[in-house]
C-alpha cells in the first residue's frame, strides 16, 4: 500500500529553494480560496450554472503543473478549476467566465466545466468523463510529429478509468510512445460511487500493466510527493520513455457538484482525510523551515483573499455578450 503522509518531514523539503516551496503553497491556497469563494457565491445565488470543485485536491493540480513547462499542455475535466489555476490561468479570467462575461477565458461560452486558455497551455476542459484522454494522446502525437519538446499532462478521475476512452486513449499513447503523463486523481469517489464498488483493483495504477507502461501510485495530498513523481514522469515522457500513468490518492472535501451533501462518504473516512488536508500538511512543514513562519503564510492567504474579492467585484460587472454572439465562433 502506498504510504499516506500524516506529516511532511522537513528533510524532504531540503534541496528546494524557499521561493519554489512558497509558490507551491501559494498556488494551493489560491485554489482553495477560489473554490471556497466560488462555492459561497454559487450557494448565495449570485453565480449561474453548476459547479464541480476540488477542495482537498489542491496538491494534485499544483504538484503536477509545477513539474510542467509553460508551453506544456494539460487537459482537464468538469472538475477543472484547480488545474486551470495551477497551469496559470488567472482567477480573473476564470471568475469572468463563471459569471458568463465576454472577458471570461472562453468568452462566457464555456463555463465552469470547460475552462481553458490555449496561450497558457490548457485546452478547454472536457466534461465527458474520460473524453479528454484520447485528446491528450493526440496532442502529444502532434508534439512528437512536430518534434517540439512539449508534453501533455492529462487529468482525470478514478471514475474515468472504466470508460472506453481511457483504454483506447492510453493504448495509443503506449504503442506510439507519446510524451504524455496520465494523471488519475483518485479521490475515492466517482460522483457518489465509491471506487471499490466499480473495480477489483486495489491500485488504479495497475491499469498500467495492460498498456505495458509504467504506473505509480502516490500520496496525492503530499504536494512534494506529487511534484517529485510528476517530475520523474514528465522527464520520462519528454525523453520518449513514456507514457506514464500516475495515480494520486486524494479526497474531495466538498460535494460532487452543487449542493451535494456527501451523505455517502463515511464519517471516519472523511475525518481521516480531513486530518490530512494537503494545505495544512504542507503549511505545517513549511513553518518548520527556518526562514518561513506562519505570518508569511498568512500574508499569502490574505493577499489571495483580497485578490479574489476584488476580482469578484469586477466579474459581477463585466459586460455580458450581446445576442449577436450567440451565433459567432461556430466555424473558424
Amino acid at each position: 500500500m502506498t504510504q499516506l503522509a500524516t506529516n511532511i518531514s522537513i528533510g524532504r523539503l531540503s534541496g528546494y529553494d524557499h521561493d519554489f516551496l512558497l509558490r507551491l503553497y501559494e498556488q494551493m491556497v489560491q485554489i482553495r480560496e477560489f473554490e471556497e469563494g466560488v462555492k459561497y457565491l454559487f450557494l448565495q445565488g449570485s453565480m449561474p450554472g453548476t459547479i464541480h470543485q476540488c477542495q482537498g485536491q489542491e496538491a494534485t493540480a499544483v504538484g503536477v503543473c509545477s513539474a510542467l513547462n509553460e508551453d506544456d499542455f494539460i487537459t482537464s475535466t468538469f472538475r477543472g478549476h484547480g488545474h486551470a489555476l495551477a497551469k496559470g490561468l488567472s482567477m480573473e479570467e476564470m471568475l469572468n467566465e463563471l459569471y458568463g462575461a465576454t472577458s471570461g477565458c472562453c468568452k462566457g461560452k464555456g463555463g465552469s466545466m470547460h475552462m481553458g486558455n490555449m496561450s497558457k497551455g490548457m485546452v478547454p476542459a472536457i466534461a465527458i468523463v474520460g473524453g479528454g484522454i484520447p485528446l491528450a494522446s493526440g496532442m502529444s502525437l502532434a508534439f512528437k510529429m512536430k518534434k517540439t519538446s512539449q508534453i501533455t499532462a492529462c487529468f482525470f478521475g478514478d471514475g474515468a478509468t472504466s470508460e472506453g476512452a481511457f483504454h483506447e486513449g492510453i493504448t495509443l499513447a503506449a504503442i506510439w510512445n507519446l510524451p504524455v503523463v496520465f494523471v488519475c486523481e483518485n479521490n475515492l469517489y466517482g460522483a457518489s460511487t465509491r471506487v471499490d464498488k466499480v473495480t477489483r483493483l486495489k491500485k488504479l495504477s495497475d491499469h498500467a500493466d495492460s498498456f505495458g507502461i509504467r504506473g505509480e501510485t502516490v500520496d496525492g495530498n503530499d504536494v512534494i510527493a506529487v511534484y517529485e513523481a510528476a517530475r520523474k514522469a514528465v522527464e520520462e515522457s519528454r525523453n520518449g520513455d513514456g507514457p506514464v500513468l500516475l495515480e494520486l490518492l486524494t479526497y474531495r472535501r466538498t460535494g460532487h457538484s452543487r449542493r451535494d451533501a456527501c451523505h455517502y462518504q463515511h464519517t471516519d473516512e472523511k475525518k481521516e482525510w480531513f486530518d490530512r488536508d494537503p494545505i495544512d500538511l504542507f503549511g505545517r512543514a513549511l513553518t518548520q523551515l527556518s526562514g518561513i513562519d506562519e505570518n508569511q503564510l498568512e500574508g499569502i492567504r490574505d493577499r489571495i483573499t483580497q485578490q479574489f474579492e476584488e476580482a469578484v467585484v469586477v466579474a459581477q460587472k463585466e459586460p455580458q455578450p450581446s445576442l449577436d454572439e450567440l451565433t459567432t465562433d461556430i466555424f473558424a
Binding site: 463555463g111 470547460h114 472504466s162 457518489s192 464498488k197 451523505h263 455578450p321 445576442l323 461556430i330
Partner: protein, 344 residues
C-alpha cells in the same frame, strides 16, 4: 381519470420512481442499471428518479462504473436472455457513447435474427439546456428518430411519465425515453433553477399510456402547435396568451417521437390547416424536420400555410445565461410564429 379514483399529485421524478417500483414488484425480471442510481446516501441517479429504491430492491439497482457503452450493451444482453433492464445516462449528451450498442445492436437485433430475438430494454435520458455548458445540454431526440427497431418517446408530465415508463417496461422492444431536466421536479440538492411545474394527479390504480400516441392537450381550431417536453409547456402557455388575442390554438404533445402518431396529428392538421412545431435544439436536422416533411407529404391538400418550425439556432449550447436563454425557444417566439402563420 374517473373522479372517484384516489389520486396524489406527483412530480415526474416521483412518478417515474413509482412506475419503477411498481414494475419491479410486479415482475422480478425488471431491474435498473446506471451510475449512482442506488448508492445509500446518494442521489438516486442524476435527478433523484431512483432515490431510495435500493432499500426495497437491493439486488436490482445496479450501480455501474462510468461505462455507458458497457452497461447499455450489458442491458441488451440481459434483455435478450429474458430480463427487462432499465438503463439510463445521467445526461442525454452521453448517449453518443453507447450509441453503437443502441443502433447497431439493440435496434437491429430482431431484424438481423430474422425475428427470433427480443430486446425488451428501456433506456432513459434527460435532456435540456440548463446552465451547464455545451456538453450537458443538447437535445438528443433527433439522433434517435427513424432508427428502425427503436421506439422513442418523450414525457412532459408526471401522469404520462408513469404510464409511458410502464408501457416501455412491458414492451418487447427497445424503447428510449427522453425526459427534461427542467420538468423532473427534483428536490433538495438536485433542484433545478428555471424548473417548470410538470406534476400530475396520479391515480392509485395501475395504468399505462401507449408508446405510439400523441396527446391533444388543448383543443383549438386555427392552428396546431406540435411540441414535446419543455417546449410543450411553453406552447401551452403561449396558447393561453394567443387565446387572449383571439387566436384559437390546438396544442399537441407529440410524445411518440418515433414512430409519430400521424392519426392524431393528422386529425388536427385537417382541422386547422396550419402547423407550428416547437423544438429545443438546433433547427437544422431536428425532429421537426421529419415532422414537417411528413406532415406536408401526408396532408398537403389540407395545409393553408407551410409548416413553421420554431427551434434553436444552429449553435452548440452556450454557457452564459444570457445566450442560453436566447438559444432556448420561449413563449414569445412561439407567439410570434403563430401570429405570422395565422396571417399567412
Amino acid at each position: 381519470m374517473a373522479v372517484a379514483e384516489i389520486t396524489k399529485r406527483l412530480s415526474i421524478a416521483e412518478s417515474l420512481r413509482q412506475a419503477i417500483t411498481e414494475e419491479m414488484r410486479r415482475d422480478p425480471t425488471v431491474f435498473c442499471m446506471g451510475e449512482d442510481i442506488g448508492v445509500p446516501g446518494g442521489w438516486g441517479g442524476a435527478f433523484t428518479v431512483t432515490l431510495g429504491l435500493e432499500e426495497e430492491f437491493a439486488d436490482r439497482l445496479l450501480d455501474t462504473p462510468i461505462a455507458e457503452l458497457g452497461f447499455f450493451g450489458a442491458g441488451i444482453g440481459a434483455a435478450m436472455m429474458g430480463m427487462r433492464p432499465i438503463v439510463d445516462v445521467q445526461y442525454g449528451d452521453f448517449l453518443f457513447l453507447p450509441m453503437d450498442q443502441i443502433v447497431n445492436n439493440a435496434a437491429k437485433m430482431r431484424y438481423m435474427s430474422g425475428g427470433t430475438v427480443k430486446v425488451p430494454l428501456v433506456m432513459r435520458a434527460p435532456i435540456g439546456a440548463t446552465g451547464r455548458g455545451s456538453q450537458h445540454a443538447q437535445s438528443m431526440e433527433r439522433y434517435f428518430i427513424g432508427v428502425p427497431g427503436l421506439k422513442v418517446v418523450a414525457v412532459s408530465n408526471a401522469y404520462d411519465a408513469k404510464g409511458i415508463l410502464k408501457s416501455a417496461v412491458r414492451d418487447d422492444n427497445p424503447v428510449l425515453i427522453f425526459e427534461h431536466k427542467l420538468l423532473y421536479g427534483s428536490k433538495g440538492a438536485r433542484a433545478e433553477s428555471g424548473a417548470v411545474d410538470a406534476t400530475s394527479e396520479i391515480p392509485d390504480e395501475d395504468y399505462t399510456v401507449p408508446l405510439d400516441k400523441a396527446a391533444v392537450c388543448r383543443e383549438g381550431s386555427q392552428v396546431t402547435i406540435l411540441s414535446w417536453l419543455l417546449m410543450h409547456h411553453y406552447s401551452m402557455s403561449a396558447a393561453e396568451s394567443l387565446a387572449n388575442e383571439g387566436i384559437d390554438a390546438e396544442v399537441i404533445d407529440v410524445r411518440s417521437l418515433s414512430p409519430f402518431d400521424y392519426e392524431t396529428i393528422g386529425a388536427s392538421v385537417r382541422k386547422t390547416g396550419r402547423v407550428v412545431i416547437v423544438e429545443e435544439g438546433p433547427k437544422t436536422g431536428g425532429v421537426s424536420a421529419e415532422l414537417a416533411a411528413g406532415i406536408m407529404e401526408r396532408f398537403s391538400e389540407n395545409m393553408l400555410a407551410p409548416v413553421h418550425r420554431v427551434a434553436s439556432p444552429d449553435v452548440p449550447v452556450p454557457f452564459t445565461p444570457v445566450l442560453e436563454d436566447a438559444y432556448r425557444p420561449d413563449p414569445p417566439r412561439i407567439l410570434e410564429a403563430v401570429r405570422k402563420i395565422i396571417q399567412h
